[in-house]
Subunit: 341 residues, 2 copies
DNA sequence: CGCAAAAGGTTAATCGCGTAACCTATCACA
DNA sequence: TGTGATAGGTTACGCGATTAACCTTTTGCG
C-alpha cells in the first residue's frame, strides 16, 4: 500500500541463486566457508536492495535480543510527569546514547510495580534492564522474579552486593557541601528533604560531617501543592539559618524562588545549595551552587556494568560514582564580609 | 540461570491436554467454538502459570505490531540533549501515556536522517510513527520512502494535506501575544528567533497583527555559547524596546536571565513574553507570560490521528491545535502606570 | 592412483504464536 | 435410520532469521 514490500533474506538469496543460510552467514561475518566472490555478490545485493533485518524474526531465532529495557518508577510524586523530571530525562538521554553506542536497542517504560518490569523483560526477551526510582525491598523482590540481570541506576550502598547497583557518593556529596559551607563561614545550616530514606539521610549526615556541626533537618511534603503553604508557615524559622541545603536541585530551586518572591535576597540574606548538578541549577539566577553528579558517566557506567553482567563477566556489585561540588553564586561568603560590602 | 524457564503457550496446552490453537483462541477471546469449561480451565492455567506472550513471536506471526515509533530529530542545536528539552520530554511523557492507553507500545529513537526512520520502522514492523523536529523537505522524502503512516508532531500549515500533521496555531499564538502586549500599552516590541522558518515567521506575523504595528525582528545564533556575547553587544538596542517576544520559552528565559544579570528589571524596565507554556516558564521568577500549548492534547491528538491513519479511517490531514496565552508576571502594564508605582 | 581433507556451500529444524482448513462426535429431525 | 447441522475442538503451515548437521566437489599428498 505504501511503496513496495519489505525485502527479506529469502529474496536476496533467490535473486543470487543462493541459500538463505549463506546470506545470513555473510550478514554475520561468518565468511570462512564462503568464497570471496560470493561474499562480494551478497554484500552488493544487500546494499542494492536496502536489506534491513526483521527484528521480530531475529529476536525469535536468537536467544539474546540485544534490547535493554529502561524502566522508571512512575511515582505519584511526579504526578504523571516522570519523563519530564530533569534527572530522569538526562538519564534517558544518556542511556539512549550509551545503549546505541554498544549496539543495543533501548526500550523505555514507566512502571508502578515490579511485576510490570518482570512482564516487560519477559515479553521482549530483554537482555537486561536498567531500573530507576524504586526502593530497596522492591529491588529484592525484582531479583527473585526476573530472569535477566538488572542494574539499579539510582542505587544505594549495599554491603552485601546483592544487586547490580550504581550509587553516587551521597555522603561525600553532603560532606563537600558541608565543608564548602563551613569554609564560607556558615554554621547554622538547614537540610531540606522530602523523606528520610537512606540516600537523603546519607547526604544529611555528610553535610553534618563537612560542617563539623549538626545541621537542622526539615521534612517537606511530597505534594507540590502543599509545599508553598508549608514554607510560608516556616519562613521565619528558615530565616534563622544562614544557609539551606536541599537534597535535590528541584527542591533547592523551588525554595530559592519562594524566598526570592518573599523578598529574601539569595545569597545575601540566605545561602542555598542544591544536589544534582542539573541544567536548571546552572541556568538559575543566581546560579545555584550544587553537588553535581556526572550524568554521562552514570549512564556509561550503568550500561557497562549491565553488559558485563549480561556477558557473565561480573556478578552483582555496587559501583560508587564520585560527585563534585559545582560552585555557582547562591552561597554567600560570610568570612570575607569586608570585601563583599 | 535466573529462575525457571519462560512459559509458552505450548506448555499451557500440554498441561491441559489441549492444542495450542485452543489456548491461543482463548487468549484472543475467540471462544465461540470452545466450551465454557475449557475456557475457564485455560484462563485459570494461564493465570496460575503467569503466562506472558513472547512479543517477538507475536509480531512475527501477525501482520501488525502494535508498536508506535516516536522519532526525534537529534538536531545539533540540542548538543546531544534532545530528550532533556522541555518540549520534547513533555512530548515523550504524554506520548508514552497515550500509546499505552490505546494498547500500543512505544519505541523511542533519536535520528539525524530520515533514512534512519525508514529503517527503524521497517526493522520493528512499526504500525506507525510520530516524528518530531524535522523539516518539510525531509518529511516529503520520508513519505516517499516509508511504508507505514506517520504523524508530524510539531508540524506546519500544509494546504495540500500531504501528511498526518499536527500544528499548533502559531499565527494565532503570536497574535494573542501581540494583542496582549498592545492592551498593556506596548508598541515597540522585539521578536527574537533563531531562524526564519515557517513556524517562527508565522508567530512573528501573528505578533505584528496583534500589535497592529510592525515589530522588530532579531535573529539569534543557534549555538548557546555564542548567544551571551551576541546579547551583550546588542544590550542597548534591546533596551530600546519595551517588550521582547521570544519564539520559545527557552530563549525567553535565557534572555530574561541575561537581562536580569545585567541589572535590567523584568518586567519593570523590559517586558518579556515566551512561547510554549513550559514548566520552566511557570517556575521562573518572575513567572514568564507565555503562549501555552496543551501538550497533553497535542499527544492525544497525535496518537488518535495516527491510529485513524493506521486503521485507514482517515487520510493525511493537518490538524490545528489551539493555543492560549498564559499570563505570568513578566509583562508590565504600561497603561495603568499610576496604579503601578 | 587413491584417499583424506578442505572448500563452498545446502538442508532442514527451530524459535513461539496466529490462523485457516479440517476433523469427529453428538444431536435434531424427517 | 439416514442426513445435515452444530459443537468443540485439532492439524499444519507460515512469519523471517539462525544455525547445526550434512552434502558435494576440488585439491593435496604419499
Amino acid at each position: 500500500m505504501w511503496s513496495e514490500n519489505k525485502v527479506r533474506i529469502k529474496d536476496i538469496a533467490e535473486e543470487l541463486g543462493l541459500s538463505t543460510a549463506t546470506v545470513s552467514n555473510v550478514l554475520h561475518g561468518k565468511t570462512q566457508k564462503i568464497s570471496d566472490r560470493t561474499v562480494k555478490a551478497v554484500e552488493q545485493k544487500l546494499e542494492e536492495r536496502g536489506y534491513i533485518p526483521d527484528m521480530a524474526a531475529t529476536l525469535l531465532a536468537r536467544n539474546n535480543s540485544r534490547i535493554i529495557g529502561v524502566v522508571v518508577n512512575d511515582h505519584p510524586k511526579y504526578e504523571g510527569h516522570v519523563f519530564e523530571d530533569s534527572f530522569i530525562s538526562a538519564a534517558i538521554n544518556y542511556l539512549s546514547d550509551e545503549t546505541e553506542a554498544n549496539g543495543y536497542f533501548m526500550m523505555l517504560k514507566k512502571a508502578k510495580k515490579i511485576t510490570e518490569i518482570v512482564a516487560f523483560a519477559s515479553m521482549w526477551n530483554l537482555d537486561g534492564v536498567v531500573v530507576i526510582g524504586f526502593c530497596e525491598d522492591e529491588y529484592q523482590d525484582l531479583r527473585d522474579r526476573i530472569r535477566v540481570p538488572f542494574v539499579i541506576y539510582d542505587g544505594f550502598l549495599d554491603e552485601q552486593n546483592r544487586f547490580g547497583n550504581l550509587t553516587i557518593d551521597d555522603f561525600d556529596g553532603g560532606r563537600q557541601a558541608g565543608q564548602y559551607l563551613k569554609e564560607m563561614g556558615h554554621r547554622r545550616v538547614l537540610c531540606v528533604a522530602d523523606n528520610e530514606i537512606c540516600m537523603d539521610y546519607l547526604r544529611y549526615q555528610g553535610l553534618c560531617e563537612g560542617l563539623e556541626v549538626k545541621a537542622g533537618f526539615m521534612k517537606i511534603p511530597m505534594q507540590a501543592a502543599e509545599r508553598e503553604l508549608f514554607y510560608q508557615e516556616r519562613l521565619a524559622a528558615i530565616k534563622n539559618y544562614t544557609a539551606v541545603f536541599a537534597v535535590s536541585d528541584y527542591y533547592a530551586l523551588e525554595l530559592m524562588r519562594f524566598l526570592q518572591k518573599n523578598g529574601v535576597d539569595i545569597p545575601d540574606e540566605l545561602s542555598v545549595i542544591g544536589f544534582d548538578g542539573s541544567r536548571e541549577a546552572r541556568n538559575a539566577l543566581p546560579k545555584l551552587t550544587t553537588v553535581a553528579q556526572d550524568n554521562a558517566l552514570l549512564a556509561k557506567t550503568a550500561i557497562h556494568l549491565l553488559l558485563e553482567m549480561i556477558n557473565g563477566e561480573t556478578d552483582a556489585q555496587t559501583v560508587c560514582i564520585p560527585v563534585k561540588l559545582w560552585v555557582g553564586d547562591s552561597v554567600k561568603d560570610l568570612k570575607n564580609l569586608k570585601e563583599d560590602s
